[in-house]
């Protein structure tokens, strides 16, 4: 028996355009603390995993990594009009960035925060989480694929993150704040 086609099982046939952005230090995977980042050989290996999984889901991903916050801001600004959602690994800026979360908020697109390790266990308070839709942390490189799966299923759902769904669900200010809660 052959496995069913994942992309055919989704609740929507939209090929969501998802921008995956990894911040400072993440480019150097393979040279980082293995207790936190595991055995992954390189960022290129992570990028290949992400692209393979996105193809199976039937969505488009564009992966960007940079050690320069200014480059990341410009990437967010430029991509906003042609992106349905962001998956962001803040890297070394998780606890200190001001401009990156603001730039993401101004895209008015859903943002998912991912990290290899559990930063709460390390006493790190992220400045990205409050404006994110959701967060996946602690599954090493599998945080990225788990996040893509949950995000795509959520975007497909017209009662939740689907852009053609009810506006109240994507612009609410009370209850759980969403990453695109700007008016």
């Amino acid at each position: 028996m052959s496995a069913p086609d994942l992309s055919k099982l989704r609740q929507s046939d939209r090929r969501w355009r998802i921008e995956v952005i990894a911040g400072p230090n993440m480019k150097h995977l393979g040279r980082r603390d293995r207790r936190l980042f595991g055995e992954i050989a390189s960022f290129e290996a992570l990028q290949a995993n992400i692209e393979t999984f996105a193809a199976a889901l039937g969505v488009e991903v564009r992966v960007f990594v940079s050690d320069f916050e200014g480059e990341i801001l410009e990437r967010v600004h430029r991509s906003a009009a042609t992106t349905d959602a962001y998956v962001v690994d803040p890297g070394g800026l998780a606890t200190v960035s001001q401009g990156w979360p603001h730039a993401l908020l101004e895209t008015r697109k859903p943002v998912v925060e991912v990290t290899f390790y559990n930063p709460v266990a390390n006493g790190e308070a992220s400045v990205f989480t409050k404006t994110a839709i959701g967060r996946v942390m602690g599954l090493r490189e599998h945080s990225y694929t788990a996040a893509l799966l949950a995000l795509v299923l959520s975007l497909d759902d017209r009662t939740f993150l689907h852009p053609d769904g009810p506006e109240s669900e994507t612009k609410r200010k009370d209850g759980t704040p969403y990453s695109f809660r700007l008016g």
């Binding site: 046939d13 266990a121 989480t129 490189e141 949950a150 209850g175």
Partner: protein, 183 residues
Amino acid sequence: MSNSAQHNPDANWTRSIGEALRAQRPGDHRWRFDLIDGPNMSNLGLGGRDVRTYGAVTSLAALQDGIVAMGEGLGLAMSAFSANHEGSIVEHIYDASSSVDAFLINPAALTRYGMPTRIALADVRRPFIELHFANVAALGWEGGITTPVATAVVMGFRHYSYMGALFGLACALDRGQAQVLPP
């Protein structure tokens, strides 16, 4: 092909999703997963929990049936438990741990003050993943009481948090990357 909204989530649909995702796992071991839903989750459904946070999931039984079916599709051995009494959850964790490889727990109303639950999870030395429908960190606090000892956390994607977590945790275990954190 588009699929109609699967709000339950429908167990036939999630089982197919699991079967499709099985090919994406880096291994094929039949890990034993136990799903635990905490206090108030039995109130899911029309007239119960706020649909803007919890979506249109019709009941806790439908949710757990859907997640169990997805896990079976992924090639995992699944069990599920829920209670409104913290003592029941504490006893369940100790009792089930010898026949469980990893726990998935939505601490729900134990998120802030479930210290006995946290101690039980830390005592049994099994990887566990903390789940939430909502992005609880967006409410202004950095995780819950179990978060600092959680292997991983997935939150903010309604019931798709569970689906992303199930796949991500299976992949992490396949690669020996699901850490048990120190208590």
